[in-house]
Symmetry: D2
């Protein structure tokens, strides 16, 4: 079993049917965890680079994005007594953070693979958040 | 020394001057941690009540509010390379969560002191978030 | 791309070579996130059951286990200036939490699929933590 | 009202009497939040220094210590169905992290006030964790 299968099984076994489309919800949850992890590792990888002063803004943005993606992943996994207004505001904040982080990581993509991968995941996560809110 | 003094001293010792008014920022940070803790304990206190089925929505909202306040507290404490758009979206999401949690806890305030205290802290935190964004 | 591939790619792109065996480390990180998510959703699924009073201990343990797995996942993903003593103590605490959570969820496995799945993931995560520390 | 008063009131209003001495528990919770915040801000303050390469280990340790203190604060605030083994292992991991972080921040105390303050809070938190476990 892997993370995606576990997410799908857990949502499937939940006594409350999601108020959102189940496929879109599972994709949102998985992408948020993936992005939280990518940003967490990218911040640390930047910190391990030779010239850290060059990637200060990237570290800062990745740290924020990690925390926000994680909180949004946890909240969107909960199906009991959902308050759609809270989730909407949270997913909106998450999209903003992911877009900012993607832009920042993009600047270093040519020289650092961890920034290139992180930018891709952040962009995909921003799009997933956007699609989810429509 | 207490939590508030530590927050103020750490912000004062930071090499970057905050881009927000320092008093308002310190108050925001302290209130967010206080609210995160109040909601965390209120969710657990509700779970320890005799009839848990009665407070399901309160537990759910408190759990979300804990996570969101905490992430917002951490992000607003960071003064290096601040992205005001991320912070604004996050504080907005936090205000939404605090208002929802205050409304929910209010319903149980007459019978449960932890809900009464939590509702007060959540309302104060929602107001602090609102003032901060103006 | 999925979560596991992203973890592997990010660890591979990190400027610091892990001080632990890379396969074991990636497996640890992935399992910790998976377990954090399973516990987070199981706590909420229990909260959505008809008789919540029956699963109070399960909710409490799942909430603790979520937080601990998540913190351990974040810390173990970081390869810059690793302090093996901190990681060892954290992985030990995580193993304790996963074993306790598996035992608790096991009690409800026959009636609730989310508890059955969560118990399996927790047991696997406890074993992964144990193997990693040897 | 401040954070400490709120903690005390919430523990006092909880339907479950703490299985630990209430004064010691409240002190533990408050100190853990204070330390989590000090480390979170110290990591960011280090990141804002002119020569970041000089404080890489400090940033890494502060980030770990933030997460661990926070998770321990949340878990120790919960009085419903406490598993003392989980809490003990967690407080032990937290003590290890705080001691390591205090040692690291001490190295920079002469030049950076945020490291001096953070080292003091970490040392006090390590002692509080130690006293709590006896």
């Amino acid at each position: 079993m892997n993370h995606h299968d576990t997410t799908a099984q857990m949502i499937g076994a939940h006594p409350k049917k999601p108020i959102f489309k189940q496929d879109a919800l599972e994709n949102l949850i998985d992408t948020l965890y993936e992005c939280s992890e990518a940003c967490n590792t990218c911040a640390d990888a930047c910190l391990g680079e030779k010239d850290v002063n060059n990637v200060v803004r990237c570290i800062r943005t990745c740290i924020d994005c990690t925390d926000i993606c994680q909180t949004t992943a946890r909240a969107s996994s909960r199906q009991t007594e959902v308050d759609p207004e809270i989730l909407r505001a949270l997913v909106q904040a998450c999209r903003t953070a992911c877009e900012s982080c993607a832009s920042e990581c993009d600047k270093h993509s040519a020289h650092m693979d961890h920034c290139r991968i992180c930018a891709e995941v952040c962009r995909r996560c921003a799009d997933t958040c956007h699609s989810f809110m429509i």
